[in-house]
Amino acid sequence: MRGMASSRAPQVVLADDDVLLREGVASLLARSGFEVVGQAGNGTELLALARSARPELAVIDIRMPPGHGTEGLTAARVIREELPGTAIIVLSAHVEVNEAMDLLAGGERLGYLLKSRVTDVAEFIDTVKRITAGASVVDPSLVQELVRARRRRDPLDVLSPRERQVLALMAEGASNAGIAQRIFVTEGTVEKHVRSILTKLDLPESETDHRRVLAVLKFLEAR
């Protein structure tokens, strides 16, 4: 697997029909240690580009010509199939849980983010690097929507406020270390919280962070 371990800059392809925005993201990535090896304006161009460039990362706008629907998601599926080593980030103006689960079902090193996240430059670059390195990431606003949804008999009622916070970070794709850093506790404490959450919600222990994201998302969606 190629990745951040290699000494040279990771290669990226970009797909978005909005040229201005695409160029903006390209220059941002270029300044942040990536090599942008190609840009595409629609799904078909993207596939051709990905097949020839075989990049480490593809950053894809979900809504592109010709249908302005979920062409990006379809392209991501094909790339995952043909080039499983390529990390993929799908950007969308709206985040919907069904799209997130659809994408993440494809495996690890996948990200589903609100497009406006790119303007939070440092955080965006950090997320991109995490994904390229193996994490699966779901936009925090989507997770917030899932966690905040009001339920009459809410299974989340068994969790403490701190545990809820940890659950949300798990769903966003943070590792235990990442969670520890975010909520200013030790990794050991996070592990305790995670075990308690899994027991209370009757969720299976997951071998990878990616599986953990999927399991939590699924639980929250069905809640």
Partner: protein, 600 residues
């Protein structure tokens, strides 16, 4: 019949033989018989007997009074020429554009007694012709007698010969000052005694009252029947039943009230063809309801009504070229009534009879039915027009919302994001010494990001992209998650529905959730949606305060409009204190493509 005991007989204790033979006694006795006969007829009428029974009883009593072996009572009608009135038996469909014809009289037997019962049954109808006693009676307005050769060679010669009748007397029946009909008596004796004419006339004059009563009764009943039928049909139309149902019901009623065999509704199509919309009664291979009506004769009803736009009758299909299929299905005569819609000939109702020509007032009585059909058709057309225009308005509004959403999404929001991105780049290039400027730029970028979030929310509210991309189920679940009141959602739809239906259902749920949060103080909202048998059923109910009134706002009214524009049904149930429920049913084509089912 048995002449009852009369006072004249009973009081004569002595010299009975002589007394009976005196002319006075004979007159008295006849008078008493007559009185008794009339009393019996009057009793029948008072008991609500059917007119045929009354008329038959009149014929019966008359026969006994004057010693006739065969009697019948018949109604006489005059057809005015030029109205498509009855033609002579065997004539083809009357051509209303044809020249003036002589006024013709027909008689229709309404009561019959004795040996003529089989030969001249009730309903028997024939044209009055010279050589008939009835014709002479009607023309002279006095009793007329025919006997011997004249009778044997007359129009009734065959029947008269068969029954062995040798003399006949006809007497006009005048009811309420109008010539109503004629009664005919016949005998197998050489002739009736002298004076029989006046005895007949006396009796018929008195019986006329009974006849008038019976007839009035009959007409009243028919009127009531017809009114009831018209009311039933009008109710169907007012309820907005589909025109097909109205057509079928009208055809059924037309057969019941006017036909003696069949009733049909035929629509003239713009391309010159005709369609059989409904059929009741007799049938044949040429009768295929819902299918083109073809192979009809150019001189028959369908062609003639189409050509003339007027009522047309056939008095005997044997005289109509191409009339064979109708004869084979047992029809003898028919009337076709045009149906005009908005001044255009739309179709016709035809009724047929297996007996003689249809009564002359058939056309006039049927006009009320045809105008109801016209109303039903106009209503249906207006409704269809209204529906299309409402659907068009809703579709146009939805299209506009989609376009605005697209513009915001692909235009405004993208530009905002790239602007912020650029601002961030500029921020990054600010020299370390200019910390103040850098933080100002940063704040600017954050504020712009806030604007971008707002635009996203607005565009989502205008048209939820997820609805088009993923369908109703994920869209409703997303709505539920964003609701301020907890929502139980149960969606059993496994395929994509037509876009207007999905959008309509989405807005119903969206508005109901907003209302539940805004007005209801509800603790939970239940949303159930399922498709079955070509219908989407959607139910949204909250457990709040109830008492919702569409008049106080615009949301609920808008929903009702939208759902009805899609040909659906919308109902609101919101009793004070009993929560609020909305039920919708929307027609959706069966089958369809399986949807992108996500989630559970």
């Amino acid at each position: 019949m048995n002449a009852p005991e009369t006072g004249a007989d009973g009081t004569n204790a002595t010299g009975a033989g002589a007394a009976r033979n005196s002319p006075d006694q004979a007159r008295l006795r006849r008078l008493a018989d007559q009185q008794a006969a009339l009393r019996r007829v009057a009793t029948l009428v008072a008991g609500g007997a059917r007119p045929a029974e009354v008329f038959t009883s009149v014929a019966d009593e008359l026969g006994h009074l004057i010693g006739a072996e065969a009697t019948f009572v018949s109604r006489v009608d005059v057809s005015s020429p030029g109205r498509g009135g009855p033609g002579p038996p065997g004539s083809p469909a009357a051509d209303p554009s044809g020249g003036r014809r002589e006024a013709e009289r027909h008689m229709t037997v309404v009561g019959s007694y004795g040996r003529v019962r089989d030969e001249v049954p009730i309903g028997f109808r024939t044209r009055l012709q010279p050589g008939m006693a009835s014709n002479a009676a009607i023309q002279t307005r006095h009793s007329a007698r025919i006997n011997g050769e004249e009778l044997a060679n007359g129009p009734f010669g065959a029947i008269v010969g068969k029954l062995g009748m040798r003399a006949a007397i006809a007497t006009p029946i005048v009811v309420e000052g109008r010539y109503w009909g004629v009664t005919v008596a016949a005998t197998s004796r050489a002739d009736f005694p002298a004076g029989t004419e006046s005895r007949m006339a006396d009796f018929m004059e008195l019986a006329a009252t009974a006849i008038a009563n019976a007839q009035a009764d009959q007409e009243l009943r028919e009127l009531a029947d017809t009114q009831a039928a018209l009311r039933r049909l009008a109710t169907l139309i007012a309820r907005g039943e589909p025109p097909e149902a109205v057509f079928a019901a009208t055809t059924r009623e037309a057969l019941w009230h006017f036909g003696h065999g069949t009733a049909r509704m035929i629509r003239y199509e713009p391309d010159g063809t005709a369609t059989l919309l409904a059929n009741e009664g007799s049938t044949g291979p040429h009768v295929r309801a819902g299918k083109p009506w073809e192979g009809y004769s150019p001189t028959g009803l369908t062609a003639t009504v189409l050509r003339t736009g007027r009522a047309v009758r056939v008095d005997d299909y044997r005289g109509v070229p191409g009339g064979e299929p109708y004869l084979r299905e047992g029809l003898r005569s028919a009337v076709g009534m045009p149906i005009h819609v908005n001044g255009r000939l739309w179709g016709m109702i035809a009724i047929g009879s297996g007996e003689g020509p249809l009564p002359p007032d058939t056309e006039q009585r049927m006009t009320q039915f045809t105008s109801l059909v016209a109303t039903a058709v106009t209503n249906a057309q207006n409704r269809a027009d209204l529906m299309t225009s409402r659907a068009r308005i809703v579709a146009a509004a939805d299209e506009t919302r989609r376009r605005i959403e697209r513009d915001l999404h692909d235009g405004t929001q993208q530009q905002l994001v790239s602007l912020i991105l650029e601002l961030r780049m500029v921020e990054a290039t600010v020299p370390a010494g200019l910390g103040e400027l850098r933080s100002k730029l940063s704040r600017l970028a954050e504020r712009l990001a806030g604007v971008s979030d707002q635009v996203r929310e607005i565009s989502h509210g205008i048209h939820p992209a997820i609805l088009s991309s993923a369908g109703l189920r994920p869209a409703l679940r997303a709505l539920g998650r964003r609701s301020a009141v907890p929502v139980d959602i149960n969606v059993r739809i496994d395929r994509r529905l037509p876009e207007p239906v999905e959008v309509g259902a989405y807005y119903v749920v969206s508005e109901m959730l907003t209302n539940a949060a805004k007005h209801a103080r509800a603790s939970v909202v239940a949303v159930d949606a399922e498709t079955s048998g070509g219908t989407l059923r959607l139910r949204v109910r909250d457990d709040g305060t109830g008492g919702a009134s569409p008049l106080r706002g615009s949301g609920l009214t808008g929903l009702k409009d939208r759902i009805e524009a899609l040909g659906g049904m919308f109902s609101l149930h919101s009793p004070e204190g009993g929560g609020t429920a909305v039920c919708c049913e929307l027609p959706v084509p069966e089958g369809g493509q399986p949807g992108a089912g996500h989630g559970q």
